[in-house]
Symmetry: C2
């Protein structure tokens, strides 16, 4: 239990919370800016969008701010947004649940399906927030290695059976590697999944996946929860809004535990405007595609390998994790916020986010001399 | 467990979530608007502010929207806002935790302290969202009656001992009755509280409490968590941002389970601007005071009793709950969104929110004839 000199007595937390470490999934760039006492020039480490939000979303926010949009609670049913998503994905309204971002929805999913001691299967080095929430609800994390920098659907399936797991987490496209797997591999995983196990399919980056089809949307399988977000392609990470598509009984489960008045009203309104703005989405995707190419070209110019990306970031191979770690620090010292995979063997990569033109120019002006110095050392 | 005709098999929820009813804490006004197929003219049922947000907050939002404010995740440490709150309340930074509204913080607190089967003490008819979260984490709700329309700190204390409760919930000022208790009564409750029990002191409406002092801020007692919000006096219910003041070990507990990237960036920025705008706060409080008087005058003109209010709403006595229920429906039919206490004996009251001048005019134009018809019937 937590205790301190100032306490009258130790704080009596639940056994699960008491056992948790004082750890956070990520350190924010603002923490580093306070440490370095200067703002970053290139903020390309959190897979945020450099291409703004839909002009329609912008107008909707402006209009809402002037019309009680800040003062009124959002519709707890998220009806208008869910209706638009229902139309977009051609699924019934009852199969869509909106909440304040994928992180929140991941937590609710784990809470809904994982009794304390339940196993959750993930890939070693996959999204840390899943592990954070799994620990937070007393689930046991069982991880399998990546295979050739891709999440390994066969190993995930095998581990599920071996550990009688109730949950598997798979991000497609994957973060932090930017790779993706074929929908047939996901379908194969589902075919072999036990009846009482749920696949958490995180599709935060799916709008950027342009070389492979995505799994068709079938919301009648009660073992599949698909996570989508307005944080990435729609540029609304700071607004906190995402959704799941799932069997209606799973959506009913979310409705039993979610924070019904937890969505920001401006986010709700902006998301509804964004769904309808296919022009903006195409614009953002094109910018990301160009940005990835610019990172590929940079890596080529430095004779570094990279992984072709299906996301808004590119994993660039530095050869070993010490070089990569040191480079992240040097970059931060030069005004570049970047993150990298945390777990071996992927931790020899940098994860370079697509940024604005200015951010890329700054990155290039910093990275090229740094790499030259490193190779001469 | 949930099941349906369309399911391949029943959904395997955890035992706690499986046992939950398909209930929500409140129905939103938008749901009723869809039902009545017209928007409300007076939205005075959710204790939202009719007086907007601070002009400084408005400027900060506008500036942020134009500068990646929607696209960048908020600082997960909420450092700037916590620093300002720390200065305002003259407490160390480590005693402040910011999150996406009081509802979320209430849920986290229950999760942190209540093992399944733990008793939580509340007042019968107090804030339903507490019960929603208590059920959601498998806690057992034990309730005591209000005493003369006030929360009864003596009965709450006694029930805590009787049920070996780990949590008590007390809202001061109270919602839905608008009454408040003297800080000495809360101090007495704390004096008699078991060492392993935590008081959740919800102070959402504290800025409106102008006839009584509030409990002095002492963050060294590990049995006290104080909840504050930007939803009410600061007019930011739709933004979803609130905070707790508590012992640093409790804040450390929140940091183990909260959604670190869960706060909306515009909300974070607007809240920081609002804290510094004491002029706006005074302006909003004055408007609320005038609005309460207008509701008192309306009640007087209809020869209805009311409770002097320490909040932005007034509980007006209709005599019995059937009359009150019918009136709520008639009001809704006439474009007035209003709620009322849900539990006897307080359910004979209407809870009339302070609105804008137009909203009050509409309310008066509707309520006065309705009451005349009722008294003639």
């Amino acid at each position: 239990m937590l205790s301190s000199k100032n306490s009258i007595m130790p704080i009596q937390l639940t056994s699960i919370v008491n056992a948790l470490p004082d750890a956070t999934p990520f350190i924010g760039p603002e923490t580093l800016e306070r440490e370095y006492q200067r703002p970053f020039v290139a903020r390309i480490g959190a897979n945020e969008s450099a291409f703004g939000i839909s002009p329609k979303a912008n107008d909707a926010i402006q209009n809402a701010v002037n019309n009680s949009g800040c003062s009124w609670y959002a519709d707890p049913e998220n009806f208008e947004l869910r209706s638009l998503l229902s139309q977009k994905h051609k699924i019934p309204l009852e199969n869509v649940c909106v909440d304040a971002g994928i992180d929140s929805l991941l937590g609710l999913t784990i809470r809904m399906f994982a009794e304390p001691g339940t196993s959750l299967i993930t890939s070693r080095g996959a999204y840390p927030t899943v592990n954070y929430h799994a620990n937070g609800y007393g689930a046991i994390i069982r991880s399998v290695p990546y295979k050739n920098n891709h999440e390994d659907t066969v190993a995930l399936t095998q581990a599920t059976h071996a550990h009688k797991a109730k949950l598997i987490y798979l991000a497609n496209p994957d973060n932090p590697m930017g790779t993706c797997v074929h929908p047939d591999a996901i379908q194969q995983l589902l075919n072999e999944l036990p009846e009482d196990c749920v696949l958490m399919l995180d599709e935060a980056y799916i709008e950027f996946m342009d070389t492979m089809p995505s799994l068709p949307v079938d919301i009648n399988d009660p073992r599949l929860v698909r996570f989508r977000t307005f944080s990435k392609a729609y540029g609304m990470a700071g607004m906190r809004i995402g959704y799941v598509m799932a069997h209606k009984d799973i959506v009913a489960g979310f409705n039993r535990i979610r924070n019904h008045f937890g969505v920001n009203r401006l986010a709700q309104i902006a998301a509804a405007a964004s769904v309808q703005d296919t022009h903006f989405l195409a614009h953002a995707k094109e910018h990301v595609k160009q940005g990835r190419q610019r990172i590929y070209d940079l890596a080529d110019s430095l004779s570094l390998d990279y992984l072709p990306s299906a996301t808004n970031f590119v994993a660039v191979n530095l050869g070993n994790h010490e070089i990569a770690n040191n480079l992240i620090k040097s970059l931060a010292n030069s005004g570049v916020f970047m993150r990298k995979p945390m777990v071996a063997p992927q931790d020899r990569y940098l994860r370079i986010g697509v940024g604005s033109d200015d951010e890329h120019r700054h990155l290039e002006s910093v990275l090229i001399p740094l790499m030259r110095t490193a190779s001469e050392a």
